[in-house]
């Protein structure tokens, strides 16, 4: 038995973890189990991949095929996005969709139907998955795509691992001229200014805003909006143009131990947010930066999750439709600022329409999506229950991959479409929410 916990360090379970690179062994294991859940690199925040019996995909770490003409990559589900980047970037390709960390597995990315800073323009990962091999509950390996076994295919993308164990993923990549991003950052003095900027910069491929959740009144929602495009060769500095398809460096700074849980408090977060907001003097700044700091600013800090202390933290990410956006965000930000339960990271993005190639429990749908971190404690859980009600009222929903505590009633009121899958694959989360 191992103690297993995901990125938020909350909750922790005692679990038996099975891992193999041999398909036959995996299939025999699955066929003989009652309840299991697949798990990749443990970068979901809560309990989506926790269960008494876990099947780890980390030994499924092989690249299987790379068609550099058409830009289609096939690899096993335990391959990390960071490894994918190392292979595809030098060949002039990029991930069509990427989350805020490159340390997730391909299988986890598919099961979460990840979205990125480009969702409002380019949609979720579901639009780029061209095929999957899935180990289903009978122990059978089924290949599926939009044209064959389409139900299984669609239910697996964003299906939170409840349809089976993804063995391999085929993905349509995106062509790039350089591994750099032309970035523009714009300071917004409050939430109203920010939402206006989101609208006027809506045609940029990538956009994201960091919000200071502790400012109140006129400054409520004080933030920096960052928008970006893949840089063309003629936009690079001479020092970058020598190696325009440079891959990220592997240097990491480690947070060597779990900080005492009082280190992050209202004052230290306030100081951080103050520094972050004021590090840019000008209202607007244009730069060309490498994809690594643009997409993965926190990846340089190994184990940054330890800064919240040993009790861990929860991330809360919801989306609310544009029509209720301004009102909803203002009310929710007011509630958070009032509670003073400061969030170290608050990230706001816009999302475009959902699609019909992902499971009914897949998260992305049109609207504003806000993600916040909170220390896991009673006060936080009380605040989040209040926020849940507001999200329901504004017609929104909560991202399962980040969740560790949502109530079944909240889930039922926010995810409406029926989702059918077998009994064998289940997580603590799916049991809690009766999915």
């Amino acid at each position: 038995m191992d103690k297993v916990t995901n990125w938020g360090l909350y909750p922790t379970v005692e679990a038996e973890v099975f891992q193999s690179s041999d398909y036959k062994e995996l299939s025999e294991f699955v066929a003989t189990q009652d309840h299991i859940i697949p798990r990749g690199n443990g970068r979901c925040y809560g309990d989506s991949s926790l269960q008494k019996k876990i099947c780890s995909t980390l030994s499924l770490n092989k690249f299987l095929h790379f068609d550099t003409e058409r830009g289609i990559l096939k690899c096993e589900s335990g391959v990390l996005l960071s490894e994918v980047l190392e292979v595809i970037v030098p060949k002039g390709f990029f991930l069509p969709v990427t989350p805020g960390t490159k340390f997730v597995t391909m299988g986890g990315a598919v099961a979460s139907n990840i979205h990125g800073k480009n969702h409002h323009i380019e949609g979720a990962l579901s639009l780029y998955v061209t095929g999957l091999d899935i180990l289903t509950e009978t122990g059978e390996i089924i290949h599926c795509s939009r044209s064959s076994n389409a139900d299984l295919f669609v239910n697996t993308i964003g299906g939170m691992g409840l349809t089976g164990i993804i063995l391999s993923v085929s993905l349509q990549l995106k062509k790039i001229a350089s591994s750099y991003i032309r970035q523009k950052s714009i300071k917004a003095k409050n939430i109203h200014a920010l939402l206006d900027y989101f609208e006027s910069y809506n045609d940029w491929t990538y956009s994201v805003a960091w919000i200071d959740c502790l400012s109140k009144g006129d400054q409520l929602g004080r933030s920096i909006l960052m928008v970006g495009e893949h840089a063309e060769l003629d936009e690079l500095k001479p020092s970058e143009a020598g190696d325009p398809l440079m891959v990220h460096k592997k240097n990491q700074i480690n947070v060597p131990f779990t900080l005492p849980s009082f280190s992050l408090n209202k004052y230290s977060i306030k100081a951080f947010n103050f520094l972050y907001y004021n590090k840019q003097f000008k209202k607007m700044a244009d730069t060309v930066i490498h994809y690594n700091p643009f997409f993965y600013p926190l990846d340089v800090l190994d184990n940054w999750n330890r800064i919240y202390g040993k009790n861990g933290f929860v991330q809360y990410q919801f989306v609310i439709p544009f029509k209720n956006g301004k009102e909803g965000l203002v009310k929710i930000l007011e509630k958070i600022a009032e509670a003073g339960a400061g969030s170290f990271l608050a990230v706001l993005k816009t999302m475009g329409e959902g699609d019909r190639f992902s499971a009914p429990i897949s998260f992305p749908t049109s609207g504003y999506t806000l993600a916040l971190d909170f220390k896991a404690n009673k006060k936080t859980f009380e605040l989040l229950s209040v926020l849940d009600e507001m999200v329901i009222d504004f017609g929104g929903r909560i991202y399962l991959t980040k969740d560790a505590r949502m109530d079944k009633k909240v889930f039922e009121k926010t995810y409406h479409d029926p989702f059918t899958h077998g009994e064998k694959f289940s997580s603590i989360q799916s049991n809690r929410l009766c999915i």
Binding site: K62, F63, L64
Partner: protein, 244 residues
């Protein structure tokens, strides 16, 4: 270095060696008796990650008669041969059943002699090449707990030492690698002291370094050289009473 032939590529050390040499630009021929499906995935993975050519071939260490044609039929003749196949076997069973003893000796020793001699002849004729073979600390003194395995490895170490001397004249390097404990499938379940246990990747790195520096015999963890020196110098009347 252009092409590396890996004998025993399904082992953890074999996989780590394949990746390490490919990372340094070598094309890899993966030779293994079992796991054809896994071998072809491994071959694809190495080719894609490191942008090199890979092939898989089937190799049975105990099918001595097939070794010459196995070597002749290789798609490319290797510049480097890394031989890591072997079995620990069942010591207790070997004391009762000669078949087990023979399997331990044949896999760890006779099979190696058969294939490495063929490789040596080819490299000697060409006047170039490197043969790297993994032996064991178990071969330095026969111990109660695994002397069938140890005896086979002792013979292998002696064979490699002679082979090295023979090939020295022909610009062919033979390297003996002594890993100590390795954290692999082979010793799964065995509790070994952390300080004395190498990872497969450490062994692969050691092998790469030995290849680059044209070493003769390398201990992956240098501490083992001293441990074995001590073990070898224990007087027999004490050693035979020890539970090693």
């Amino acid at each position: 270095m252009k092409t590396v032939l890996l004998l025993g590529s399904n082992s953890d050390v074999g996989q780590a060696c394949a990746a390490t040499f490919a990372k340094n630009g070598a094309d890899i021929i993966l030779a293994s008796r079992t796991a054809a499906d896994f071998q072809s995935r491994l071959a694809a993975d190495i080719a894609i990650r490191y942008d090199v050519k890979t092939e898989t071939v089937s190799f049975d260490a105990l099918a001595y008669d097939s070794h010459q044609s196995f070597y002749d039929d290789l798609p490319t003749k290797p510049d480097v041969v890394i031989s890591v196949f072997g079995i620990l076997g069942d010591q207790d069973l070997a004391t009762k059943d000669f078949a087990e003893a023979q399997k331990i000796i044949d896999t760890n020793f006779t099979g190696q002699v058969s294939i490495l001699n063929i490789v040596a002849n080819d490299m000697e004729a060409k006047g170039a090449g490197t043969i790297i073979c993994v032996s064991s600390v178990a071969g330095e003194r026969g111990r109660k707990s695994n002397y069938f395995y140890g005896a086979a490895k002792a013979a292998l170490t002696a064979f490699l030492s002679g082979l090295r001397a023979r090939l020295a004249m022909s610009n062919v390097q033979a390297i003996t690698v002594i890993p100590g404990f390795i954290n692999t499938k082979m010793i799964q379940g065995l509790e070994t002291p952390k300080l004395l246990t190498a990872t497969s990747q450490q062994v692969a790195n050691g092998i790469w370094k030995a290849y680059r520096k044209k070493k003769n015999t390398v201990y992956v963890l240098p501490i083992w050289r001293w441990i074995m020196l001590i073990i070898k110098s224990i007087p027999e009347f004490i050693f035979k009473k020890m539970n090693l």
